[in-house]
Amino acid sequence: MMKPETEVELSEMVRGAAGPLRIVGGGTRPVGRASGEVLSTVGLSGISLYEPGALTIVAGAGTPLREIEAALKVENQRLPFEPMLHGAILGTEGESTIGGVVAANISGPRRIQAGACRDSLIGVRFVDGRGDIIKNGGRVMKNVTGYDLVKLMAGSWGTLGVLSEVAFKVLPGIEATLTVEVSGLDDVAAVAAMSAALGSPFEVSGAAHDPDSGKTMLRLEGFTDSVTYRGERLSAVLRPFGDVAVSDATDWIEVRDGVKFAGGTGDLWRISVKPSDGPKVGGALDGAKLLYDWGGGLVWAEVAIGTDVRGALNGMVRHATLVRGVGAGPVFESEVGVLARVSDGLRAQFDPRGILNAGMMG
């Protein structure tokens, strides 16, 4: 296993690599099918800059997510995008690293309001497949200087370069959280209710529906008085849909981490659609265990091993990723046509030898 302690070492290792490399942070999200000698980023660890007054944090890619979140908490700040942890659904242990979060563009329920990981990411440093050290973006939250390789690196699963450092815009902490729950809705009604909530001015920061518990949950966050007020107003918006209860449940980890799928043996898929198509996904996957997040736009579906999920969703504009299990077909949605040509072209430019997480997204 290669474990560089500095960016220069990382560069030398990639440049000198004789064959394919499998890039690993904390190893908590073993999604995808890459093989090769393991290159661990955990040696590139540590917060190099944190300016609470500028809402900015910069850290080595191998820095544990937990360390970043703890440092932010001291100043009553947070990462806006609420990164999920895959430990529960994948049964993995260990520390998720911030570089892994970026490489996989990991977000949580707050994605619908605060954006994905890529929306808070403001700078990267990485080593491409040639061993070149490249920087892009920086540590300011508005930056349009040159092409935005920051976004390109987010969610590229290590196939374009090995991240060495990442910079984020952060947000102030949350004083109060409140969950408005509607019970007894079927999936179609639940998504309609969530759409009404998300289309209101009350700044909903989480919108999930669990068909098994029959609960549709809308989250409000902010200053205490404001949350109380918006809880009342949002309840009024939701009452036409069903029985409404307001709870001070602050814990959205069950939704964020897909805890109900823990220990399951079926294939677990993560399907992104436009929210109003969410129930159609559920309907097309007969017998699936489902969880709707992002107002219906993110469907978690546990299905029998080997189910052809993409086949079942044929004709629907969607993006399906196999997060756990055997599946049918590739783990990631295949790019087709022009997009495949462009993506292959980019990979050939950044990694001409094809050694970085080869085959990962293919």
Binding site: N143, L149, T159, P172, V317, T321
Partner: protein, 479 residues
């Protein structure tokens, strides 16, 4: 400012090129007479002008594709143009180029309130996107100052921001999908109504690529319900440094206003004279806007008042009515126009870490004295996006050059303190030659390789963003 020599072979085939373009477009969509092409000789960076070989105004994605196929086959450079409001010269032509204007692509294709998006053609103006969803109390958040005129195509090309992006983000954070035509005429769809489309984040790469990777003809944009209300407060300080410190404290306290705008003494004097906004006489004014219900607004402004009080403000004026809100914003909104009335100006938009505000403002004042040119500062303070306006006299020999030299010093300073050359206007031609200050050769090469993939012939807006010396080999090889 240098532009590459026009390609003589292209110039000599003008008649042929025009005829081929007329073969794929209606007659009135191909503009080639010299007295007509002059309309397209510059954008809002008016210091540089050059009429194009021709301009075309396609009305559909298919027509855009047909135009690009012709230009690709004939080796003609293409400069895409939204509404021509770029302050960075993003749409500045070369004599051998075809300007591809998207002004006729201005329709709304789909509004979807349940899924909270709108799909528009890219020539539609920013403000008219909000106009299309206003009846349902929705809006499109990014609000560049030129929003009345600027096109979504240009917003996507430059990844435009605006006063309210502290809360809502810039274009890239509100863009869900595009239809894009590559230089060879291939039409492609990226993203759409669903979030985080699979594969590499090409959408994020396209946004802010200054029309060098493809021509965006349609865009799916996130729309939001309007807040229940919004209210600004105006706070005056007797020093820039204290105003800067107050901004930092507000952000640290956990309040997230939708906008924090900063104006310095020079700007205050000028807007007072021209807009009569009734601003206090002091060294710096902040306009801070918060949103929500009446009670939420009261609460947030209360907190802000408490924080500001610790910095001994000269005045804290909270709006009590629509009229007062308009009056508070009047000076800020008329600042650029007012500055333009007293002189020509160059508007920079370097971004710096908020913590460096006091230092950078001090250094800008020193530059102003050294160069003998007045500077006004009016900017988005919450995110460190500066807008120094350097005043100069375009009719005075050497003044423009002096102004550009001073601008370069300011932008290099922005990079030095940890910031960047441009926060929302784009590089264009204006900051092209300063890219070395921010990126080393390897950083830049990585970006050029991206263009190689999308536009191997280097025909799409080829003389922008990167120093000509850096792109020369590629441009020549492609010819």
């Amino acid at each position: 400012m240098e532009m590459p020599m026009p390609d003589a072979r292209v110039l000599s085939r003008k008649a042929d090129i025009v005829a081929r373009l007329q073969g794929v477009l209606p007659m009135d969509a191909v503009i080639h007479e010299p007295h007509e092409t002059r309309v397209y000789e510059c954008d809002a960076l008016t210091a540089y002008k050059c009429p194009p070989l021709a301009a075309v105004l396609p009305s559909s994605t298919q027509e855009v594709s047909a135009v690009l196929k012709v230009c690709h086959a004939m080796g003609v450079p293409v400069v895409p143009r939204g509404s021509g409001t770029s302050l960075a010269g993003g749409a500045l032509p070369t004599a051998d180029c075809v300007i591809l204007g998207v002004a006729r692509l201005n329709g709304v294709i789909e509004t979807n309130y349940a899924d909270r998006y709108i799909r528009v053609q890219s020539g539609r103006t920013n403000l008219s996107v909000t106009g299309a969803v206003e009846e349902m109390d929705f809006f499109y958040a990014p609000d560049p100052s030129s929003q009345l005129a600027c096109a979504i195509a240009g917003n996507v090309a430059m990844n435009s921001g605006g006063a309210h992006c502290l809360k809502y983000g810039v274009t890239t954070n509100n863009l869900l999908g595009v239809t894009m035509v590559l230089m060879d005429g291939t039409v492609t769809e990226i993203g759409g109504g669903h979030l985080d489309a699979g594969g590499l984040d090409l959408l994020g790469l396209i946004c802010g690529s200054e029309g060098q990777l493809g021509v965006v003809t349609e865009a799916t944009l996130r729309i939001l319900h309007k807040p229940e209300g919004a209210r600004p407060a105006l706070v005056g300080f007797d020093s820039n440094e204290v105003a800067g410190a107050c901004v930092s404290d507000i952000i640290k306290a956990g309040v997230l206003p939708v906008a924090i705008e900063f104006m310095d003494q020079k700007v205050l004097e000028v807007v007072e004279k021209h807009a009569k906004a009734g601003y206090p006489e002091c060294e710096a004014v902040l306009i801070i806007e918060v949103e929500g219900s009446e009670a939420e607004i009261d609460m947030q402004l209360g907190l802000i008042r408490e924080i500001a009080a610790k910095h001994n403000p000269v005045e804290f004026r909270e709006s009590a009515s629509e009229e007062e809100s308009a009056a508070i914003w009047l000076g800020r909104k008329s600042a650029f126009g007012a500055m333009g009335q007293i002189n020509d100006y160059m508007c920079l938009d370097g971004t710096i870490p908020v913590s460096e505000l006091p230092y950078v403002l001090k250094r800008i004042r020193q530059f102003s004295e050294e160069y003998g040119l007045d500077v006004g500062n009016v900017f988005h303070a919450g995110d460190g996006n500066m807008h120094p306006l350097i005043l100069f006299d375009a009719n005075k020999d050497g003044d423009l050059e002096k102004c550009e030299a001073m601008g370069a010093e300011i932008l290099k300073l922005c990079v030095e303190v940890g910031g960047c050359l441009t926060g929302e206007h784009g590089v264009g031609v204006e900051k092209r030659d300063l890219m070395h200050a921010q990126f080393d050769a390897v950083d830049m090469e990585a970006q050029l390789r991206v263009k190689d993939v999308f536009d191997p012939a280097w025909l799409l807006n080829p003389s922008k963003v990167f120093p000509l010396g850096v792109t020369q080999a590629r441009r020549i090889a492609a010819e």
